[in-house]
């Protein structure tokens, strides 16, 4: 029997870490992810787990220590947010190109500046090209479920890539919600032990990791990373199927909400999907064919699959919680529009920015976006791209 509890997103991830009992955690505190290493430290102090905790002096060091431990043969994890993630930047790329399956809990927070501790996706979106897998949660339940699945995905022989397991700062990480936890033994047997084929501390087979790869080798290395990233799609779906057997909860690359006959669709990520679902429910009650897609997996980007799911939509609003400062769209908008164009999509597609730096995104905001989509499509309102939702004017 699963365990019914109530806890925050941070507590849920820390609970999962206790169940997984990884070999090494190296972390440096930063709001709003601080609670995760703090709670793990408590588990260690209480003798619940035997994880080696490395209290490092910075996030550059936490990522370096994590990937070093992973290269040595350990199952190694860390957690961070915002500027902490930015400070890891250099090492993120090394972990990915060295194909080290470390798992990092990211509690999404705006990047400074101006200084701001609230949620947006600018931290992990900034790292979207680093070669890491990225998976996003709407709720504490999804943060917990994604975290448990992440090890199987990252460590899979066809993948071997590091993975960010993201949840929205404060909204998900600190809000206490109901949750269904899985028993320790079930989680342990699902995750299994980490048995890397090759590792630095193996005296039987010494090895070199991260050799110099100049122009004759760099592109071949990147192609191999690209293939691993593409392979991850199937692995993510396979792991989700197995996870459903122990949890009863099913996951895909994205979640479709009332998409069967949807004509007006919002595509969004993270906690704001819940808000959008409320708007869909209200519009559906009025007879509007509203639908929503919540992107769960951003890396690898499920472009073809999303385009297929959106093929019958008349108008689509893609919602970005991070600026790109291209003067055009955000990361999700730009990538999804490219995928839609490749698929020959003829729908009206608009890309909006919302919730940046923790700005509220309400059910009314979502309804207004659906109403705009209907008006854009009917030609009764001038079409406007790249709006800031909730901006004071």
């Amino acid at each position: 029997m699963s365990i019914r509890e109530r806890m925050s997103g941070n507590e849920a991830v820390a609970y999962a870490i206790r169940q997984v009992n990884p070999d090494v955690m190296a972390a440096f505190p930063i709001t709003p992810s601080t609670e995760i290493p703090q709670m793990v430290s408590t588990f260690i102090a209480n003798g619940d787990i035997d994880t080696e905790f490395i209290p490092v002096e910075s996030e550059h060091s936490s990522m370096s220590a994590t990937m070093g431990a992973c290269a040595a043969g350990a199952r190694a994890i860390t957690a961070t947010s915002s500027c902490g993630l930015a400070f890891m930047w250099e090492v993120l790329y090394v972990a990915a190109s060295d194909r080290l399956p470390v798992v990092m809990a990211v509690v999404n927070r705006a990047l400074t500046g101006p200084i701001n501790i609230n949620c947006d996706h600018s931290d992990s979106m900034g790292a979207r090209d680093s070669g890491w897998l990225q998976i996003y949660a709407e709720t504490n339940q999804e943060a917990y479920d994604n975290y448990i699945q992440s090890f199987r995905i990252a460590e899979h022989p066809d993948v071997k890539l590091p993975m960010m397991v993201c949840q929205d700062g404060f909204i998900t990480s600190h809000a206490v919600m109901n949750i269904e936890l899985i028993e320790d033994e079930k989680v342990k047997s699902f995750v299994g032990s980490y048995e890397p084929e090759n590792y630095l501390l193996n005296p039987e087979m010494p090895m070199a990791i991260g050799p110099y790869a100049n122009s004759p080798f760099y592109m071949e290395t990147k192609m191999n990373q690209r293939i691993a990233m593409k392979n991850a799609k199937k692995v993510i779906l396979d792991v989700a199927k197995e996870f459903e057997k122990i949890s009863g909860r099913s996951y895909g690359l994205f979640e479709e909400y009332h998409m069967e006959d949807a004509e007006y669709v919002i595509v969004i990520m993270g906690s704001a999907a819940g808000t959008t679902k409320d708007a869909v429910d209200e519009l559906r009650a009025k007879g509007v064919k509203a639908g929503m897609i919540k992107v769960r997996v951003f890396r690898p980007f499920p472009g073809e699959e999303l385009a297929a799911a959106l093929k019958d939509a008349k108008a689509i609003a893609i919602m970005d919680r991070a600026e790109s400062f291209s003067g055009m769209g955000g990361p999700l908008g730009s990538e999804l529009k490219a995928a839609l164009m490749d698929a020959g999509c003829k729908a009206t597609v608009v890309n909006n920015f919302y919730g940046i730096g923790g700005r509220d995104y309400t059910v009314e905001d979502a309804e207004a976006i659906y109403n705009d989509l209907m008006e854009f499509e009917a030609g009764t309102k001038p079409f406007k791209q790249f709006r800031y939702i909730g901006l004071r004017k």
């Binding site: 190109s97 060295d98 194909r99 080290l100 071997k160 084929e197 090759n198 193996n202 039987e204 087979m205 010494p206 090895m207 070199a208 990791i209 991260g210 050799p211 790869a213 004759p216 080798f217 592109m219 071949e220 290395t221 192609m223 191999n224 691993a228």
Partner: protein, 102 residues
């Protein structure tokens, strides 16, 4: 556990699928087969008349490019010497000079 990587078979003509994940090299000792001497811009040359076989140069070489056999140093391993010049600096008998070029 992977087999030892044959670094002589991974070269500038290798397709991407023949390269190990993360470019990992198994088995160790691969540097011996990888010629790096061409990085040199200056080359150490021994004057055997001045060399007293004190062997001070050998442990100072950062690239293990001064082989020793039967208690005596031999000529440089020019496949791996990068011409840093430390040996010339530490030699008390000025038996090593740096010549320009490879």
């Amino acid at each position: 556990m992977s087999k030892a990587t044959d670094v002589t078979k991974i070269n500038e003509k290798s397709p991407y699928y023949d390269i190990t994940p993360g470019n990992q090299i198994y088995g160790g000792g691969g540097a011996r087969k990888f010629t790096t001497g061409e990085w040199r811009t200056e080359t150490p040359v021994v004057d055997w008349d001045k060399c007293t076989q004190c062997l001070l140069c050998t442990p100072c070489c950062p690239d293990s490019s001064i082989p020793v056999k039967d208690g005596k140093r031999e000529d440089f391993d020019y496949d791996h010497c990068k011409g840093c010049g430390i040996c010339a600096k530490v030699c008390p008998f000025k038996a090593i000079t740096m010549k320009e070029g490879i």
